[in-house]
Amino acid sequence: MELDTLWMVSILGAPLLAAVLLSLLRGRVVRAAGWIAGVAAALSLAGVLALLPSLQRGDVPTLSFEWIPAASIRLALHVDWLTLPFLLTEAAVTLVAVVYAWGYHHTDQRTPFFYALLMLFAVGMSGTTLADDMFLFYIFWELMLVASCALIAVWGEGERAGAVALKYFIFTHLGSLMVLVGLIVFYDATGSASFSLLREGVTLAPAIVGIVITLFIVGFSVKMAIFPLHLWLPDAHAVAPMPVTIMLAAAMLSMGTYGILRFPLSLFSRVQMAPFGVPMMVMGIVSEIYGALMALAEQDIKRVIAYSSVSQMGYILFGLGTLSYDGVAGATLHVVFHAIVKALLFMSVGLVIRATGRRRIAELGGLRGAMPVAALCTGVGALAIAGTPPFCIFNSEWMIFSGGFHTGQFGLAALTLFGSLLTVAYALWFVGRIFFGSRPAGLTVNRSPWTMVAPTVLLAALSLIGGLLPGPIFEWVSNGLSLILGGAW
């Protein structure tokens, strides 16, 4: 077996093995569970990074076995430039979330299962990006949903965890079904489930092209939580335990973007996609503004950040909708940068919640002195999400806005640009209310464990580094663009 193949197997295999080990050993590994998961997540990330050199040589590491010959379905994995940003994001977020969970999660008898499900969630996400076969893609796509739903149902915070998990499942499953129909239409047209064959060109009947594109975009928009398909998100993010929220918000939302890039944008020509550009931009703007307004109105600090995801996904959809080089590159870049910043913000919020035991914004305030590190990190996160230079999101938003102006839709582009003012408003207001002002009576602050603080600081540093040196990531992302819309820009 080649070294590349081995690394690729380890991306999926390490977390999978960890999940199996944890659920087999159960009570015997209660203390070590977090470490096992951490090692697996680190191996997975190492696998992604180890594939970089061969990608830069121009190879496409693949792995393919016969699986269900009767239906021409293969067990095929591959890594190309389109996969890489998402895979990297997912693996890194998993590692950070696991480390954060060491401090956040209360260890008890069920802890091994918690980490096992976390690992399965990671397998689902990395499998979704690695899959080179529709059947496999859908299996991983749903594994991601099942694992995260189980995490919310069992470890969710609050009375309504079960109901929220149910809503989350049914909502996102509806989106998955739309995607499934789209996939099956392609399967039907080619008689094969392989992406590689699809990319070589399929001709669908013109009558169904529009339907299929709509199904894909709407289906993936559910996962991206675009207004009005976002209804599952605030509840799910608010109820889920913080490590799961981090993975949901920073990594899983981006899977919707991956889906749009991988299916409609890769498989159809620019001419076929053109009628969908403006609707996508409009959906993006609506989502952006709605999410920001809701974030302004929200009282629960976790839900503020959750609505901020709705808003940020709006930027991404807008970027994709421009169908221009800058817009699509910016949207992909935004996925990576948003993951960093969103994880950072949720981690900071987690620090506040863990230290004070409070979640309502009205009951917080003046924490600047008691939690200087958290205050600094939240400040960095808020500035970053507001698109302030020199933090990373500035770069991707620049690209997205530039893409918007390229399309000639000046009105829409200007609207996004000014809509981002709302982001500034809620971000700064959020920091101000928690860390500045007077401290409410009876607000006590406990010490935070280093395993929670260290990843937060790391991400704050990353969001600065990403802003100052976006070169490498930008290069990887732009390599991926050659696979989209026929590659001619």
Binding site: I68, A71, Y138, I139, W141, V146, V154
Partner: protein, 513 residues
């Protein structure tokens, strides 16, 4: 009595086993574990006799020879024929029966009259194997009665519970009505044609030289007879609108019996219906159309009513109606458009459903056995008390809900991919309804999973004992693990199973030519 003895061996095994087992329990010992083990052995022996038969059938189909038959051959005879679809169902029945027998090693340990339970289980499967293998209407009727009689008694087996006898009686009335209609249909057919043998299909489907006896004859009486047979066998297979006995019978029978009923009995009656109607010359295209229309009713009504159930087993029973609808959709599209791949997908769903529904009913039975849980609310907090059973239950339910990578998802994927091939309005409506139903069904499977995993052990508010782990008997855990393993394996590696049922589709199409 001539022909290939292998065809008769499964039946002989089961019938002989039933008599022998009864004598054994009367004369030697009625210890439950012994009886369960012996019954499982008889089922295993039956399964072993089917294996060579599978090879012979495949060879016969390939070379275009006659399928293996046994009995009084000839135009006026009564005999069995091993066709590929029948063998699939017979193997499923024998396999599921074996697991159910093992499971009964603990499940019926506290019941009286065990000495009749096991022989009845064997007779039930014997009747079922006869129904699917029967090559003439007389044998079909006889075996159908054998199967039904065994089921009536088994449904009412726990006669001291308040509703079991009522459910058994309701089933008896409805079932007898079905049987009478079948008998009437047979007599009409006989009146016109003077014989009851279903046609033999020889040769590959491409170069078909049918030695068919009657399906060239489509006089008025045969038509009426066909209609009667269609309705009668629909009753037995629980197709909406003649499904009303099913939720009662499946909901009240002991868990093991429900598993057999939902897992294979209903499906084999469905297969018998296909075989008989196509064999008597009912046009395949029209039958397919009917099946698609009825499947819309079955799946919508099944899922809709499952949503409002408060009793766990009735919920599963309605889910069986819905799944019969899915199977009918696959088979119906296949018959309407001559696509053997769609029928193959329908048969794959039969396999998957047998494993999933069998597993679900057995898990529900275990919850009832250990914790007395009948209603859905009683299932709260099961995860803490019976973790292994709950895990298997969750696998079964998620499989039924069509969550990847379990068997239910793979089966639905195949039905969808194969159903989309022919494009016409009815098929599109069917596929749309299929997808919507898949979504609706989440509305009852997922809350059930959630109930199982919820923390609160008891809703009633009384001082409920702290959730303590209840050790589960190995007699129960083994079949549950095997079935859960099968649900997963069929999902992630469906290849061999798909190949196994491939012949069934082609055969049905050739019969219905």
């Amino acid at each position: 009595m001539t022909g290939n003895v292998w065809v008769a061996l499964p039946l002989a095994c089961l019938a002989g086993g039933a008599v022998g087992l009864y004598l054994f329990s009367r004369l030697i010992t009625a210890r439950n574990e012994f009886l369960a083990l012996l019954t499982a052995l008889v089922f295993a022996a039956g399964l072993w006799t089917v294996v060579p038969l599978l090879g012979m059938t495949r060879l016969a189909l390939k070379t275009g020879e006659e399928l293996p038959v046994w009995g009084h051959l000839g135009p006026g005879g009564a005999f069995l024929r091993a066709d590929p679809g029948a063998l699939v169902l017979a193997s499923v029945a024998l396999g599921l029966g074996m697991l159910v027998a093992l499971y009964s090693g603990r499940y019926v340990a506290l019941d009286h009259r065990r000495e009749t339970y096991y022989p009845l289980l064997l007779l039930l499967v014997a009747g079922l194997v006869g129904v699917v293998l029967a090559a003439d209407l007389f044998s079909l009727y006889m075996y159908c009665e054998l199967m039904s009689a065994a089921v009536y008694v088994l449904v009412a087996f726990r006669r001291r519970t308040d509703t079991a006898v009522e459910a058994g009686f309701k089933y008896l009335v409805m079932g007898s009505l079905g049987t009478i209609i079948i008998l009437m249909g047979i007599s009409f057919v006989f009146r016109e044609t003077g014989q009851l043998v279903l046609p033999q299909v020889t040769g590959s489907p491409e170069s078909l030289d049918l030695g068919r006896s009657m399906n060239t004859v489509t006089g008025p009486w045969t038509r009426v007879g066909l209609a009667c047979l269609l309705v009668g066998l629909s009753v037995k297979s629980g197709i909406v609108p003649v499904h009303t006995w099913l939720p009662d019978a499946h909901g009240r029978a002991p868990g093991t019996v429900s598993a057999m009923l939902s897992g294979v009995v209903v499906q084999s009656a469905f297969y018998a219906m296909l075989k008989v109607t196509l064999g008597l010359g009912f046009p395949a295209r029209m039958l397919g159309t009917w099946l698609i229309v009825l499947s819309l009713l079955s799946m919508t009504l099944g899922n809709g009513l499952a949503l409002v159930q408060t009793n766990g087993k009735r919920l599963l029973a309605y889910s069986t109606i819905a799944h019969t609808g899915y199977v009918m959709l696959g088979v119906g599209i296949g018959l309407r458009h001559g696509s053997s791949a769609a029928i193959q997908a329908g048969f794959f769903l039969i396999l998957a459903h047998a494993a999933m529904k069998g597993l679900a009913f057995l898990c529900k039975g275990a919850c009832h056995f250990y914790c007395g849980a009948t209603e859905i609310v009683d299932l709260r907090g099961m995860a803490a008390r019976l973790p292994m059973v709950t895990g298997a239950f969750a696998v079964a339910l998620l499989g039924l809900a069509g969550v990847p990578p379990l068997a239910g998802f793979t089966a639905k994927w195949f039905i969808l991919t194969r159903a989309l091939r022919p494009r016409d309005l009815l098929v599109s409506i069917g596929v749309g309804a299929f997808l919507l139903n898949g979504l609706v069904s989440l509305g009852y499977y997922l809350p059930l999973v959630r109930t199982l995993s919820s923390q609160k052990a008891d809703l009633k508010g009384d001082a409920s004992p702290a959730a303590t782990l209840i050790p589960t008997s190995r007699w129960m855990t083994f079949p549950l693990l095997v079935l859960a393993g099968m649900v997963v394996t069929m999902g992630v590696y469906p290849g061999p199973w798909l190949t196994w049922v491939a012949d069934a589709g082609a055969y049905l199409l050739s019969v219905g030519r």
